[in-house]
């Protein structure tokens, strides 16, 4: 069973809550996915608006854990302050820590990320850092106190899948016991299955579900892919070969030439 900061989870699929066509579709997608953790954020709300309150009420009704993010933060200070605010509003010490370094790719600023992680871990936060596949950065994040890592598959919202599978495999091999969650960039369920086949512990998906033609059906499809990929990992896959290896026995074949 997957365990994140001591919390056991049956589902290895985490869902983002943004970009759905409606709150009702979001709720149905979460239910169809069977996910137990959803990501949320904090944004400005004017005195006359109620959308944030309605959203929070909807999420609370779903009976899932929330993982607040620090999306859009570009500095350590912004990210740390946002984490403090999120902890109060969402009443959780979990935080998906994002410190963005570059706007075109939304690539993590790994220097700011490790610094923010160090501060927040020391304050008792349970930090889920959105990072790259870089192994040295992963070491630094663990040294900072993180006990879960969330390497990207590809840039957020790009739907490209796993951009650097070799480095991701190296990360998995180097940290066999650290929960590793592929976060961002997955486009279709086969990407999620691939991540699970490589031995990742879970995947976090948002845009690929929310922006699908039928988000509810796509949420269910991702859930199946995650289960299949994880089962395949446990079953032990064969090694690829360069040439054919006949599956039907050669011995006993009739001579008909």
């Amino acid at each position: 069973m997957l365990e994140l900061y001591g919390t056991p989870l049956d589902s290895r699929l985490l869902l983002g809550t943004a970009r759905y066509p409606s709150p009702a579709v979001l709720a149905q997608a979460v239910q169809a996915s069977g996910c137990e953790v959803v990501t949320v954020s904090l944004r400005r709300e004017s005195g006359g608006e109620r959308s944030g309150q309605g959203f929070w009420s909807l999420v609370r009704g779903l009976g899932v854990r929330v993982l607040p993010n620090t999306a859009g933060c570009h500095s350590v200070k912004e990210a740390v302050t946002t984490a403090h605010m999120a902890r109060e509003v969402f009443a959780t010490s979990w935080v998906k820590l994002e410190v963005i370094g570059e706007d075109d790719t939304l690539q993590p600023d790994v220097f700011g990320l490790t610094e923010a992680a160090r501060i927040l871990c020391a304050e008792g936060f349970e930090v889920f850092p959105y990072t790259t596949e870089d192994l040295v950065v992963a070491e630094r994040l663990l040294a900072a106190g993180c006990r879960v890592l969330m390497p990207w598959g590809a840039p957020i919202g790009s739907g490209r899948g796993l951009n650097n599978p070799l480095a991701l495999k190296a990360l998995r091999a180097h940290f066999p016991r650290i929960p590793l969650i592929i976060d961002a960039g997955l486009g279709v369920p086969s990407h999620a299955a691939r991540a699970m086949e490589l031995g990742f512990d879970a995947v976090l998906v948002n845009t690929a579900v929310a922006q699908a033609g039928d988000p509810v059906a796509m949420a269910a499809a991702f859930a199946q892919a995650v289960r299949a990929g994880h089962a395949a990992r446990l079953a032990g896959a064969i090694e690829p070969l360069e040439l054919a290896a006949p599956s039907t026995p050669v011995i006993g074949k009739a001579f008909l030439g």
Partner: protein
């Protein structure tokens, strides 16, 4: 006095942050606040005075990835 709330100037009676939030329509809401870039806890709002020109952020739960 005038304070900048989520990037928009508002005229308020002043006083503490907690009363200003009521005045601005946030009464009873689940929101987090930061004053001039510093987090102000729910518990501290009643003893945090506002000053003319203060920059207040009021954040609410929202969709996120």
């Amino acid at each position: 006095m005038k304070i900048l709330v989520n990037g928009v100037w508002h005229e308020t009676a002043g006083g503490e942050l907690a009363s200003a939030l009521e005045e601005l329509g946030y009464g009873g809401r689940v929101v987090a606040t930061a004053l001039n870039g510093e987090f102000v806890t729910l518990e501290a709002r009643g003893r945090t005075p506002l000053r003319d020109g203060d920059r207040l952020e009021v954040l609410a739960p929202m969709q996120g990835g």
